[in-house]
């Protein structure tokens, strides 16, 4: 039991899942920049090359197009590549292969070939990193048909969802919220038990309001829920975990109780996944809504350098404000959720 009850961080859970799968599945290969002797810049692959050898855990030259593209070739021949991009901000050269090949191979060959690839990348802000190291652009990838986008928000979900992603027959972009890589520890038994993909997790039950969040924002969202609870409001908190495809049913089930919803994400607002979730909610549950779906998001700005990132990231205060907008909305009342002055063109020109 002792080994099984080890208390670990999210990044250690990633390592644990990679090690488990490398050990049981000879088809798994892990590669990326600095993942060998260095163990990855966040240490997510710490010790793996030593343990499984440089033939299965490989440092690549510095080229993301190559990383994304060779994974496609490997996967078509039955390997299970797990490729690391050092930061989400450096995936883009690989986009051609992810979008035009990995996500389409099955369809293009009518099922003859497939791409069971996991592309991993640390993502998100809040660690005072340099430029290009803090973005959240999950919506760009969620837009790609044929691709799964998965984001864990706890050590246990990192372990279970990464196992599931590696075992999944289709390509997965697995985004690791680096702000909470080491934020919390939790016992994660190394039992090889995967968690289901395409299923949302209800992290907290409540009947007054539904808060939807993923990745690092789950932390502030749970904090906001605690504060609301102190004021007698019980929020249900849902982590979709798989962002694409989206388990809208769990959200709708919750809304049937709560009738009010706030979606929280670090990513920019315009075309962010909050928009997709709100659209699906109004398609499936227009009649149960007592208030417009609120979005609490990053601004539609370039992710700022770290001096201003605190002002950019949605914190507890902003989530609470969004919650109150949802709770206090009434159809006839004066407090429309979207600022009327803005819609009337009354906002000041800066």
């Amino acid at each position: 039991m002792g080994e099984q009850e080890k208390t670990i961080t999210l990044v250690e859970a990633v390592t644990q899942a990679l090690a488990f799968e490398l050990a049981i599945n000879p088809e798994v290969v892990v590669f990326g920049q600095d993942i060998g002797a260095n163990g990855g810049v966040f240490r997510a692959t710490d010790g793996l090359q030593e343990r499984f050898g440089a033939a299965r855990v490989l440092d690549t030259p510095l080229a993301e197009t190559m990383i994304a593209g060779v994974a496609v070739g490997m996967a078509t021949q039955g390997l299970r590549p797990v490729a690391e991009f050092q930061f989400m901000g450096f995936i883009y050269p690989g986009l051609d292969h992810i979008l035009s090949h990995a996500a389409r191979m099955r369809n293009r060959t009518r099922g003859r070939l497939s791409c069971p690839i996991v592309y991993r990348a640390p993502y998100g802000g809040g660690i005072h990193a340099p430029e290009h190291h803090s973005e959240s652009t999950e919506a760009i990838f969620a837009h790609i048909p044929g691709l799964r986008v998965v984001v864990p928000s706890s050590p246990a979900r990192a372990y279970g969802l990464l196992l599931a992603s590696i075992r999944d027959p289709d390509p997965v972009l697995f985004l690791e919220p680096k702000r909470i890589y080491r934020a919390a520890k939790q016992p994660v038994p190394d039992d090889g038990e995967a968690l289901p993909l395409d299923r949302a997790f209800v992290l907290r039950e409540g009947h007054d309001l539904t808060l939807v969040a993923w990745g690092a924002s789950v932390k502030e969202t749970l904090e906001a829920a605690e504060q609301l609870s102190a004021g007698g409001i019980e929020a249900e908190v849902i982590d979709p975990a798989t962002l694409k495809p989206l388990d809208i049913h769990t959200i709708i089930d919750s809304l049937e109780k709560t009738r009010r919803c706030v979606v929280v994400h670090e990513a920019a607002r315009f075309g962010g996944l909050g928009a997709e979730i709100a659209a699906q909610i109004q398609e499936y549950a227009f009649d149960v809504l007592d208030a417009p779906v609120q979005r609490v998001t990053g601004y539609d700005t370039v992710m700022p350098y770290y001096q201003l990132e605190g002002a950019y990231l949605p914190g507890v205060e902003r989530i609470l404000a969004g919650a109150h907008n949802a709770l206090e909305y009434s159809r006839s009342g004066p407090s429309s959720s979207r600022s009327e002055s803005a819609l009337n063109g009354g906002a000041t020109q800066p």
């Binding site: 920049q33 600095d34 060998g36 002797a37 260095n38 163990g39 810049v41 440092d59 030259p61 510095l62 080229a63 993301e64 197009t65 190559m66 901000g89 450096f90 883009y92 050269p93 005072h128 990193a129 340099p130 430029e131 290009h132 190291h133 607002r269 601004y299 539609d300 700005t301 370039v302 700022p304 350098y305 770290y306 001096q307 201003l308 990132e309 002002a311 950019y312 205060e317 902003r318 979207r338 600022s339 803005a342 063109g345 906002a347 000041t348 020109q349 800066p350």
Partner: protein, 369 residues
């Protein structure tokens, strides 16, 4: 087994340039530009770069600066490159370029601002056409080619003197498609652009031989049909000659060039890195034997151009320069948070006014609370 007869179609040579050996001894007569004044200027600037790096790393260690990439051991490349550029040339730097930026007139305060999480640092006051430092690896090389196209067009259409673009990078960057694509186009269009590669032997933890099976980085230019030279990157005279020569050819319409400058990263990759995880202490110790400042120091002393007294004066002068810069940097008024909207578009679109107001109000409430 049948062996066909083959005819040689192409072959190539890669030359290596050095003026000052490890001991600071001239291995051949120095070029004319290497006057005593020029040599002592370069020596001062290398010392300044080393001091800025040292203070920046310390500021990071005490939580006052973000991640910082030092140029320790590679100062000759940046100083020689920055020094060779004309004011009207355009520099497209990568991130490890404290020395070159100082030579371009970028202030210490600006450099600290960049790594201290303040975008204003990229608003280079003294080199307004230069590109900001570039973090997505190798992308700046393509930008430099576009810059060179613009410079050439300006020359042809407006009769302005032909100026050149220079892109810097590490050797790891030469694994990326952008690098090959940039050289290829520069060759086809015969553009005035010079690529300077700091081959410091490491790309974070990946050593040079884990990056490419090629014998030299310089020969990568051969495939693009552009001239290449390998230089001792810790010999500032050699780097300077190579960059000046390539620039002069570029400015006279002879097209692009690649320079591979061999050096060694004596520091961690950045302050976020711990090189002892992947690099032996012996390798590091050895590399210290041929670092560029000591080499030039030996040469200057041998020539009677340097002394302990001069060194003491210089140390005092540089310390005062650094203190003044730190003072200015500490005194900077933080940007208002709404600055994140101010330069998004030439004019903020109306659709963003609401977000702008929300951010400003939040900030105001935070300040009132």
């Amino acid at each position: 087994m049948h062996k066909p007869r083959l005819q040689l179609q192409a072959s190539f040579d890669i030359a290596h340039l050095q003026y000052l050996d490890n001991q600071g001894k001239a291995t051949q007569p120095l070029p004319e530009f290497a006057t005593p004044d020029w040599l002592t200027h370069c020596y001062r600037q290398m010392q300044l770069a080393r001091l800025v790096d040292d203070r920046a790393v310390k500021l990071q260690r005490t939580g006052r600066l973000g991640t910082y990439p030092s140029t320790l051991g590679q100062e000759a490349i940046g100083i020689a490159t920055g020094n060779a550029l004309d004011a009207d040339d355009v520099y497209c730097p990568y991130y490890r370029e404290t020395g070159a930026l100082l030579e371009r007139g970028v202030t210490i305060e600006e450099i600290l601002a960049i790594w201290g999480g303040d975008e204003r640092g990229q608003n280079f006051q003294h080199s307004p056409n230069d590109l900001p430092i570039c973090i997505p690896i190798a992308t700046q090389m393509l930008h430099a080619v576009g810059v060179a196209f613009a410079l050439k067009q300006r020359h042809q259409q407006e009769g302005a003197p032909l100026q050149a673009a220079v892109a810097s990078s590490g050797e790891g960057a030469t694994s990326k498609g952008d690098f090959y694509e940039a050289m290829n186009l520069a060759g086809v269009w015969k553009l005035p652009v010079v690529f300077v590669v700091n081959n410091n032997q490491w790309a974070i933890s990946v050593p040079r031989h884990g990056q490419t099976a090629t014998q030299t980085i310089a020969q990568k230019a051969v495939a693009a049909g552009i001239p290449a030279l390998q230089v001792d990157g810790n010999d500032i005279v050699a780097v300077a000659w190579a960059v000046r020569d390539a620039l002069q050819r570029a400015r006279s319409g002879e097209g692009p060039a690649l320079i591979e400058a061999i050096s060694y990263r004596l520091c961690d990759h950045t302050t976020a890195d711990d090189a002892s995880r992947y690099r032996s202490a012996e390798a590091l110790e050895q590399a210290w034997q041929w670092e560029p400042i000591q080499r030039l120091d030996r040469h200057l002393r041998e020539q009677g151009l340097w002394s302990d007294a001069k060194q003491q004066d210089l140390d005092r002068e540089l310390a005062a320069t650094m203190e003044a810069a730190l003072g200015n940097w500490h005194a900077r008024v933080p940007e208002p948070v709404t600055a994140m909207f101010d330069h998004l578009y030439a004019q903020l679109p109306e659709g963003l006014y609401e977000q702008y107001d929300q951010l400003r109000d939040e900030q105001q409430q935070g300040a009132d609370a």
